[in-house]
Every structure is written in structure tokens, then in C-alpha cells.
């Protein structure tokens, strides 16, 4: 299989201009089936993640972040989630991949960590044994090699006593330790792409920083690409190289972090940045955004942000909103982005 991980250099310096992206989503739309109805929850989303790159998807709740992650992993049955458009992993279509090939990728070349580690750790099995199971599934290491690999992995996520942790059950670990154990498990088979869905949201900031630093270090060490999902703009600002901003299942703005966060062009991104709390100078208030995030059942044609947008006018309600290129790698879906 061309997806094997041993073709990658270990130093992670492979983000060449012409290399195929590790992940590309092209005109991705997702539909949830509810009885006889089909509800579109993600509309026409396109983005690419290069080798070794840290790409963040940010958005408020219900914007479709988790659904995009799950569609990549195909963690939802086709009877529930319908995928339109294309998802490619290292140049190969994932949407048309048969389930048995997908199973080989999942936990192998692509792996995922979740907000609540307890949902993906087996409470009845020691941590080391759980890592060993994914090694058995995806590699042909013998028993001794597996034991060595488990030790390396647990050391990589900064456990001082890997052997001791390997013998422990998930409930004996703190939240941060569990999240680190899950990262070790996700990295067991040298994935090329790590999908992290709000991996630190349930953690204290001090532990959040520890976990983020571990992800960063492993990214450098193994040339890992990361799809990082978050609602925390300051976290994304700190760690992401490129950012996509989702609202109501639509990718509103995408590009390098220094553009999207640093000098955002889209009214929604700007408004979102204005919602981030922080010090108030001379009693001044942040305005925030009035109204609430619309649900997929209430989406009307036109721009999904228009009820809450200060720049909206009649055209925003009627027309198909174009995607404007602000630079070769920065774009916004808006009739009136800041130039």
C-alpha cells in the first residue's frame, strides 16, 4: 500500500510546494438522514492540509467541525451520513474506498483523538494493552518489539514511568494523563494525519499547554500533519499555521493564521475575534455578536451569517455568495470582505 509511513523522512521537513497534500477536502457537503429527510449540515467546504502542517478548523457549536472530522474517518454509517464532494488522503479518494481498506487506514495512517478520552479508551483494559491492540491490528511487530514501541510511545507523551502507566487502567489516570495516553495510542502506528477534535477542551490550561507542547514536539519529530478542531481562537492563534473558520456548515474564511486571525477579512471572523474576552481598557466593552447561532433546520438561502452581520444588505439574502481570493492562499466567502 502506498500509504505506508516509512517513506517519510523523520525530521518533518517535507512540506514541499509540489507534494500532494496529505488531506484535501473538495466541495465537501455532508447530509444527515433523519427519517425521510436529508438535512445538509456542511456545505461545499474545501481545504487542504500539507505534510507536516498544523491546520485548525474553528467554529462555534453546531458549525460542523466534528462531522467533518467524522466524515474523514468515516466514523458514521452511510445510512446516517451522506458525503458529497471529495475527500482525498495523499492523493487517493477516501469517499470511494471500500470499508475494509478504510479500516486499515483508521488508527493506522489516519488517527483521531477526542475531547473526552474516556469515550475511546476501554475502561476494562490496561493502557499498555490497549496500545498493543492497535499495534497488533496495524503492524507486524513481534511481541518484544511491541513492548518496546509502547515504552517509546508513553515516553514520547512525557510519562516518567512508562511501564507503570502501561499497567494502569484509564480510571486510575487524571484527565490530562488520559489525554496523553490517548495521544500515545493515536500515534502508535506512525500516522501521517492526526485529527484532534477539541482534545484539550476538558482540561485545565496548565495541562492543556502540556498536551499542546507534546503534539507540537511529535509533529516536528515525525512530520505529522494535524487537523486541529477547536472553538478557542487564542489556542488556534498560538499553534496553527493555517486556519479555516466555519459558521453554519460553511467555510467563511481560510488561509494562513497570520491573515485569518491577524487581519481577518470576513465579518464573521472579525466579530468572533471581538467576542474573545480579555482586558478592558477604560471600562470599554466588547460588542460580541447579537442573536444566536442558527440551526441547520433554519438555514435560508444567501449568507448564513446575515442576520447577525453588520455589513449585510439585501444582496446577502438573495445571491449565491462568492468565494473571494484575497491572496493566492487566503480566501473569504463574503460579498464585502475587508480588502
Amino acid at each position: 500500500m502506498t500509504l505506508s509511513s516509512d517513506t517519510r523522512p523523520a525530521d518533518g521537513t517535507i512540506a514541499g510546494q509540489n507534494a500532494a497534500p496529505v488531506l484535501s477536502a473538495r466541495n465537501l457537503s455532508l447530509y444527515i438522514r433523519e427519517g425521510r429527510n436529508r438535512i445538509r449540515i456542511v456545505s461545499d467546504v474545501s481545504f487542504e492540509i500539507a505534510a507536516g502542517e498544523f491546520f485548525a478548523l474553528v467554529g462555534e457549536s453546531g458549525s460542523g467541525k466534528t462531522m467533518i472530522a467524522r466524515s474523514i474517518m468515516r466514523l458514521l454509517p452511510a445510512s446516517m451520513l451522506e458525503i458529497e464532494g471529495d475527500l482525498e488522503f495523499c492523493g487517493k479518494s477516501l469517499t470511494s474506498l471500500p470499508e475494509n481498506r478504510m479500516r486499515a487506514l483508521r488508527g493506522g495512517a489516519i488517527s483521531m483523538i477526542f475531547q473526552e478520552p474516556m469515550t475511546s479508551l476501554d475502561p476494562l483494559m490496561p493502557v499498555g494493552r490497549q496500545i498493543e491492540e492497535t499495534l497488533e491490528l496495524h503492524s507486524d511487530l513481534n511481541r518484544r518489539q511491541r513492548a518496546e514501541r509502547i515504552e517509546t510511545l508513553l515516553t514520547d507523551v512525557r510519562f516518567a514511568e512508562p511501564a507503570k502507566v502501561a499497567a494502569m487502567f484509564p480510571h486510575e489516570l487524571s484527565g490530562g494523563m488520559r489525554q496523553r495516553a490517548m495521544i500515545a495510542m493515536a500515534l502508535a502506528n506512525n500516522p501521517q494525519l492526526l485529527i484532534a477534535d477539541e482534545p484539550t477542551t476538558a482540561l485545565d490550561v496548565t495541562i492543556q499547554r502540556e498536551v499542546m507542547e507534546i503534539i507540537q514536539r511529535l509533529r516536528r519529530k515525525y512530520g505529522l500533519s494535524v487537523l486541529f478542531i477547536s472553538h478557542d481562537l487564542s489556542l488556534v492563534h498560538q499553534y496553527a499555521e493555517r486556519v479555516g473558520v466555519l459558521y453554519g456548515g460553511v467555510l467563511m474564511e481560510a488561509g494562513p493564521e497570520r491573515d485569518v486571525i491577524g487581519r481577518s477579512a470576513h465579518p464573521y471572523t472579525q466579530a468572533l475575534l471581538n467576542c474573545a474576552p480579555g482586558r478592558r481598557v477604560a471600562g470599554e466593552r466588547r460588542r460580541g455578536i447579537g442573536g444566536t447561532v442558527p440551526s441547520p433546520r433554519d438555514w435560508a438561502p444567501g449568507c448564513r451569517f446575515r442576520d447577525r452581520c453588520e455589513r449585510a444588505d439585501a444582496a446577502c439574502a438573495n445571491s449565491e455568495i462568492p468565494v473571494k481570493d484575497l491572496s493566492p492562499e487566503w480566501r473569504a466567502k463574503c460579498l464585502r470582505p475587508t480588502e
Partner: protein, 264 residues
């Protein structure tokens, strides 16, 4: 018009609370010393933040203040009135003048009850006449930015942010001198979170509400709170004006905490 006394200082002294937990039949019971002598003062009209890592005792402190949990020792007074302390019976929750708002606006509203009834529940218990209750509910709803016809609706008809407004209205209708908010904006979308934070600032300005605001989010404290107390392992390790503590933390845990916060 809903008013608060605007003069009551809250003083807590050496509040202690230990939980005892049995670990099955044979294991030794374990104890968690959730509060180990916490003291602080909150001035009238002050917004007082409490931060600290998960499990450091923030919620336990909040529950002790409002009377949902009994302290082991220590004392609490509000405007010279003793609420608990050595040699006296604890003042029951309804008579304390302290109301609480919780993190989860979904779990804390009865889905079968109309919003108006839910808000007026405490007033009904205290024996207020129906028409007066209805007036008070309408007034409180407008105070939190909801229209009076919300009273006839059910919780499921509201978004998360609106439900949190309802919970805050339910607390305010009792005309508390103090509001204790435990992670009250943590479950909300950030666009909605800012609306609630601004509403709390307005309530302080308009009716002189004093607020104890518990959160794990330092940037929220920075925005909202005049004063902050940092807790660690059941103790208050640092306390001061928010800007002073953030700019010049003295305690080593506070230093770690503040340096870990990602910044925009």
C-alpha cells in the same frame, strides 16, 4: 424595581470542608480536604472572580456559600449578618440573600414548567400574590434582555444563551444581595458568552449586584472581574485586583497558571 441592598460586604473566614468517601467494604475510607481554611471579603457591587484548576474546591465553596452544602467549620457573614459560624445554627439557603447560577442551563430548568412559573417558584414559596409575582417576572425578564412573553414558553423553545438568561432571571427575582455564578458561561458559544458577560456588567451598574464569578477561563476573569482569588488544592493561594494578579503574580501556581493561558 428590583434592587439589591448595595451595602453588604461578604466576609468568609477559615471555611473548611472535608468529604469522606467509603471505598467499598474492605478498603479504608478516603478523605478529600476540599476547602482548607478559605477566607476572603467581597465588597458591595464588586465582581469577584475565583479561578483554579479542576478539583481545587471552587464549586464546593460556592455550594457552601449558598447553603447547598454544610461547612465543617469557619464563618460567613453578609453585611454584618452572620450566616454561619461557631456556636450558631446555619441560616437556611432561602434566608441568606445569596442566589446561585450553574454551568448547565439545560439541566437546571425543569422542562415541563413554563419559564414564568420557573422564575416565580421562589416567590410563590415565599407567599407572594400571583399578580405581584407576574409583574416581578416580567420586570426581571426585561432586566436580562428577554421579552415578557417568554414567561408563557417552555425551556426547549430557547437557545442555550437564552436559557442561561432565564436561570439568571430566576436568581435575580429573589432580589439577592449576592449572585454566585459557577461556570455560568462555560457551556455557551463564545458569541453568546460575551452577551451574558456584558449583561452581568450591566446588572452590577444598574441594580448594584455583587457577583462571585467562578470560572476556569482567565480571559473571562480579565474581562469581568474587579478582584480575583486563585485557589489551589482547597486553599486560596493569591488574591488581589485582577490586573495586579495577572501582571505580577506572586504565588508559583498562579505564575504557572497565567503563563499557560494562550493569548490572542
Amino acid at each position: 424595581m428590583i434592587q439589591t441592598s448595595q451595602t453588604a460586604t461578604m466576609s468568609a473566614r477559615d471555611v473548611c470542608k472535608t468529604f469522606h468517601r467509603s471505598n467499598g467494604w474492605f478498603a479504608k475510607p478516603s478523605e478529600t480536604r476540599a476547602l482548607q481554611g478559605v477566607s476572603f471579603d467581597v465588597e458591595p457591587k464588586e465582581i469577584f472572580g475565583i479561578v483554579g484548576e479542576s478539583g481545587c474546591g471552587k464549586s464546593t465553596l460556592a455550594r457552601v456559600l449558598v447553603g447547598l452544602e454544610n461547612q465543617d467549620s469557619g464563618s460567613l457573614s453578609l453585611g454584618g449578618r452572620k450566616l454561619f459560624g461557631p456556636g450558631m445554627a446555619d441560616v437556611p439557603p432561602v434566608k441568606r440573600g445569596i442566589q446561585m447560577v450553574f454551568q448547565d442551563p439545560y439541566a437546571s430548568l425543569n422542562p415541563r414548567m413554563q419559564v414564568g412559573e420557573a422564575i416565580a417558584e421562589g416567590l410563590a414559596i415565599s407567599g407572594m400574590a400571583r399578580s405581584e409575582r407576574e409583574d416581578r417576572v416580567a420586570e426581571t425578564l426585561s432586566l436580562v434582555g428577554l421579552s415578557p412573553d417568554a414567561a408563557q414558553k417552555h425551556p426547549f423553545q430557547f437557545s442555550g444563551g437564552q436559557r442561561q438568561r432565564i436561570c439568571i432571571a430566576r436568581a435575580l427575582v429573589m432580589e439577592p444581595e449576592f449572585l454566585v455564578a459557577d461556570e455560568a458561561v462555560s457551556a455557551l458559544d463564545i458569541s453568546v458568552q460575551m452577551q451574558i458577560l456584558n449583561m452581568l456588567l450591566d446588572l452590577r451598574d444598574r441594580i448594584g449586584l455583587s457577583i462571585i464569578f467562578i470560572t476556569h477561563d482567565i480571559s473571562v476573569v480579565e474581562y469581568l472581574c474587579d478582584t480575583v482569588m486563585v485557589m489551589y488544592g482547597g486553599k486560596a493561594v493569591e488574591r488581589g485586583k485582577t490586573a495586579d494578579v495577572l501582571d505580577n503574580p506572586q504565588d508559583s501556581y498562579t505564575q504557572t497558571l497565567i503563563s499557560s493561558v494562550p493569548r490572542l
